[in-house]
Subunit: 137 residues, 3 copies
Amino acid sequence: MKFHTEYLWFNTKNHREYINITQDLDKILNTSGIQEGMLLVSAMHITAGIYVNDDEPGLILDIDEWLESIAPFKKEYKHHQTGEDNGDSHLKSMIVHHQVMVPITSGKLDLGPWQQVFYAEFDGQRRKRVVVKAMGE
Amino acid sequence: MKFHTEYLWFNTKNHREYINITQDLDKILNTSGIQEGMLLVSAMHITAGIYVNDDEPGLILDIDEWLESIAPFKKEYKHHQTGEDNGDSHLKSMIVHHQVMVPITSGKLDLGPWQQVFYAEFDGQRRKRVVVKAMGE
Amino acid sequence: MKFHTEYLWFNTKNHREYINITQDLDKILNTSGIQEGMLLVSAMHITAGIYVNDDEPGLILDIDEWLESIAPFKKEYKHHQTGEDNGDSHLKSMIVHHQVMVPITSGKLDLGPWQQVFYAEFDGQRRKRVVVKAMGE
């Protein structure tokens, strides 16, 4: 049984940003040498997410607008009484979910033809981290 | 350590559909011979989801109406500039999430009494695929 | 390869409640003796969720209000024709998602500095269960 763990770091230019990390995951899988198993990709912050969807620029704008419409930035969150102003970032990360599991089959990420893995930043412009753990044989 | 991978295919009659796949997963688990481990069930498309909830027809209608209310079909998605018309299908799949992990205990799917695993189709009437990977001993 | 499974039971005082279970998971991990692997934490009920976020009381109130705003309690759910009155609880559990995977690295839950694991009860005041399964070496 093999285990292989790496951490990806992000420091986005924008407050919100969506970054395709599929190639980074391919490299990590190659380094691990695992042929069969599973790859866990999990944001280590509570204002970021990981999701699988299409790398189409229009869709990414739609996702961003839609998240803002159902989990809007506003001053009135109770969380802001701590001095924070990112209540909406927490809620956005909950919708998107903070992690995915990618199956590993025959030494490859077993994704569908349009599936790409994204890091979703909802409170950026600071250093943040994602754990990637592969487990298999 | 055992690994067992199968693919389920769907081609729904309706644009949106919710299909209980728990019995299919039971069969896959039996074929795998795994007694302890985990089963990953993951849609390979970006307009479909996998979720665990109750197999109650009224609730399924409620889920469908609710998804339409918070991620509605509309013409104005930027994704539609590519010629697609399924922007809402992508957003619906993000809420529902595209995958679940089912624990395997004593050779059975370790689900609660009312938990059933569903394939949620948000852009059907075409062939689509789900990967099922069991890992354990 | 080691497998270790435990069940956590909850019987909340309130209809909705958010309980930090990170220390329970630490104990289960210690009992398992696993150094490298993954820990699946999964609600066994269809009106409860498991999520990872901040243990900040204001934020927890924000999460609760926000869930009520996008998946409100109301009489009109079709699910209520069965005699149930918890249609909103099912929808809330779908947003939050019913499970998380926690990576295990060097014998510890590999969580970020603010990440805590929560049991989210959306239809409480009865006995409910969560399965925790660790897998690794």
